[in-house]
Symmetry: C2
Subunit: 164 residues, 2 copies
């Protein structure tokens, strides 16, 4: 189970006005105890990944300046780069209007990649638009031609986090 | 309830390898029938919002080239800009490695704003980093000084989508 935040106390959500227009950080964790986090490359602006944080991961990210997530597949705290060395150093952390999403702008160590498949961004494929083709017939287009690293060399036999 | 996609059939998820390395669009909708979507401004790269799509919203976005979402607070399909005129025209739509997140790059009509509070981006506040202050004492910093539009004038008495 995700840490529900007992040990990393954020401020309570008192009113819609305070949450939207105020200066108090009062994040909303969902029923699984996590908040989604968009992570972009601070230099290129590219979206690298969409991860999830529990209260501990968010607090540690703010405290250390390095991105921490909650791995839903492993059900454990995940310091990004712990295995791969591809640590994400936070340049800026933003919270959205209703405080139920986080945006991290980061610099990535090493090869600069953030995707466990080996690509720079997890979003390495584009969906063709307005083709009139049925959704189950669409053919994805690769936007990165080469992997930035070899996932087998980096992760070895660790279980693949992708769940069908 | 979110449309479970019966009427907008996407391809089945057959194997981890096909989902990660293949060219078939086989998105994973969560137990509520939605997939998270990061939306960025195609010109500035700024993250504008994090929304959710059900199968119908994703299919309509691909078909029409205009961003559609699933409103969790209203529990209804939401063509972005239907009320405000701030329509998002999709420049590119990407899917991530395990196909459980979408990234839209868009051009926004009118004032270019995407946030119901009136700001350009929903992420108009930053969290100070590495202060050593307890999470419940952090003071947010506003990154947009002025609203791009007056939400009262645009939305009138429509219910605020923010949920405590």
């Amino acid at each position: 189970m995700a840490d529900k935040g007992e040990s990393f106390k954020f401020a309570p959500r008192r009113s819609v006005e305070e949450v939207e227009e105020g200066k108090v950080l009062a994040p909303k964790f969902d029923k699984d105890g996590v908040i989604p986090c968009v992570t972009t490359d601070a230099a290129s602006g590219e979206v690298l990944m969409l991860g999830y944080m529990n209260a501990e991961a968010l607090a540690l990210t703010i405290k250390t300046g390095e991105a921490h997530y909650w791995s839903r597949s492993r059900q454990s705290l995940w310091r990004k780069g712990a295995t791969s060395g591809l640590v994400q150093t936070v340049v800026e952390l933003r919270i959205d209007d209703d405080q139920d999403s986080v945006w991290l702008r980061v610099n990535v160590a090493g090869s600069g990649a953030s995707c466990h498949v080996g690509f720079r961004s997890c979003f390495y494929r584009a969906v063709p638009m307005k083709t009139g083709i049925s959704p189950d017939q669409l053919v994805l287009e690769f936007k990165e031609q080469e992997k930035a690293f070899d996932p087998k060399a980096v992760y070895g036999d660790a279980p693949n986090p992708t769940v069908l």
